[in-house]
Amino acid sequence: MWRYLGRRLLVSVVTVAGIVVVVFFIMRVLPGDAAAVRAGPYASEEKLEQIREQFGFSDPVPVQFVNYVKDAVTGDLGTSIRTGGEVTEELLIRLPASLELAFYSVLLAVVAGVPVGIAAAARRDTWIDRAARVVAVLGSSMAFFWLGLMLTFLFFFKLGWFPGPVGRLAITTQPPETITGFFTVDAALAGNWGLMGEAFSYLALPAVTVGFVLSAPIIKIVRSSMIEVLDSEYVRTARALGVRRREVLFRDGFRNALIPVTTAIGIIFGYMLGGNIIVELIFAWPGVGRYAYEALRVNDLEALQGFVIVVGLLYIVLNVVIDFIYSWIDPRIKLGQKVVA
């Protein structure tokens, strides 16, 4: 077990190192004058020179690389030319907003997608199954920006059921004292139920937008792994010995189907950790995705590069966590071999 764990960690470290290197090459070595990109189209020659000096672009590439790696290892992702702040710090401030949205989106996707997937598997080739497949295809074909826009139009402008796209809370509302960074949790911890309700109402539309799209892969995976389990010999045994259909479905079926489902949820959550640039833009959500968008608009490459590194890192960390969850669900795996879905 420890050997496996060691190997797993080693691979992760290699991947993380790879991410850092790849980002460096994308940002500095690809065609185009990095200084010119940073300075904008109308910069004077002196200004360009000054930027080259400031960012060390006049140094040879290997020297740039060593400096960059040294900084990255110590957690220094540079300074944003847009805000003048430390990129690492600015990302950390914005991360909780993205994580809260990601958490509730994935939660919604699981809560909605798992029952639909189970129903589709249990009633294979009926209209329920076909409807579930159409929903899954609709979800995986959905454009975030269009769904977000249409939901806002319908539920804010037309019906007025949910607040408009202005962020995590109304502009006039004082956010709760930071404990976890999740407004819903912090408000509850402060006993401020009204504030918690408000936080939820602002979360609703963006979380539904993302949750709907994410439910598609969950429906597909739950369906196919449930079908595999329901067709298995041990489910046939349970039925042969008089175990009721409902118990077979949930006790034998679901627990075994959970293994591939965990992988799927992990991967999806991993992708969401980096925030969703489009959804954060539409709903003015102050997370890392929106930070990346703002950086992109003014060619703030330091900030963008920091964002990319953080996204990659979080993804890798999550993957290791999932490996641990596996061994808890499936007694056959003692962190030895992975079960492929």
Partner: protein, 291 residues
């Protein structure tokens, strides 16, 4: 009479069989969703191929007729510059569909070639290539494409390159796995014994047999590529206004929506989703059970 005819197969009694055997069922009843996808896709392709010759100029403005609601004359209404939304959507169909299909094809060709190399030769080549795809796959495809366009600069070609790069790793993984199992099969040994060099064996024998799952994935990727391209355009990355492109149109239309002018964003966005669905229906049905 019961003759003990042991003399040969030709004289053996041939028993009668059920007429027709198992009834052949049409594609419509076996894969109804794939047929739906193909029909939608066919409509899009016709629209993209001949539509632009029949509609008005997609970029010419006509301010007096700005923001007209959908009518017979303007089936999808007009935008805030008075441009016909339907005309723009039709022109965009040509652009987005071409991009989506080309990206999927390029990603498949590049990814399959690299995947065969990794899977067939194995060893250090394989290990290196797999670590590289691990790294690339650690980023959401959209973020990767976004960064690449940001660095390469805004142009339709660069969008194509960036989105292709984001999808290549999927094909590498897929083809490598196929190649790994294919190379164990006997026909590869046979081809080698027949004196073929290993490069020839890899590309001429292993690759064609690894192709089927790649084609299914390519169909799905064409759908995702359209979503990615239009998503980038929505953010103002890559394809820019006033080009008629679905994502650009939704982005521009978003400004009108709070005044109740929903059609400028609803229709182009709907076109994106429907196009992606068409590809997904086809890919899903032919991809069998895997997610």
């Amino acid at each position: 009479m019961p003759a003990e005819s042991q003399s040969g197969a030709s004289e053996r009694f041939v028993p009668p069989r059920i007429d027709g055997g198992a009834t052949a069922r049409s594609l419509v009843s076996r894969k109804p969703l794939a047929v739906v996808g193909m029909v939608i896709l066919a409509v899009y392709i016709v629209l993209a191929a001949v539509g632009p010759f029949f509609v008005t100029d997609p970029v010419a403005t006509d301010p007096p007729n700005a923001l007209l609601a959908p009518s017979l004359e303007h089936p999808m209404g007009t935008d805030n510059f008075g441009r016909d939304v339907f005309a723009r959507a039709v022109h965009s169909a040509r652009l987005d569909l071409t991009l989506g299909i080309l990206i999927a094809m390029c990603a498949m060709v590049i990814g399959s070639a690299v995947g065969v190399v990794a899977g067939y030769w194995g060893g250090a080549v394989d290990e290196t290539l797999m670590r590289l795809t691990d790294i690339v796959l650690a980023f959401p495809g959209f973020v990767l494409a976004l960064i690449l366009v940001a660095v390469l600069g805004n142009s339709t070609l660069n969008v194509g390159i960036a989105v292709t790069a984001a999808f290549v790793p999927y094909f590498i993984r897929l083809t490598r796995a196929q190649a790994l199992s294919e190379r164990e099969l006997e026909y590869v040994d046979g081809a080698k014994l027949a004196g073929n060099r290993s490069a020839r064996v890899a590309f001429l024998h292993v690759l064609p047999n690894s192709l089927q799952p790649s084609l299914v994935t390519a169909t799905l990727v064409a759908g995702w590529a359209i979503l990615t391209v239009s998503g980038l355009a929505f953010l103002g990355v890559g394809i820019k206004p006033p080009t008629a492109e679905w994502g650009v149109m939704v982005s521009e239309g978003a400004r009108d929506i709070d005044a109740g002018h929903w059609w400028t964003s609803f229709f182009p966005g709907g076109m994106i989703v429907l196009a992606a669905m068409a590809f997904h229906f086809i890919g899903d049905e032919f991809g069998g059970r895997e997610a």
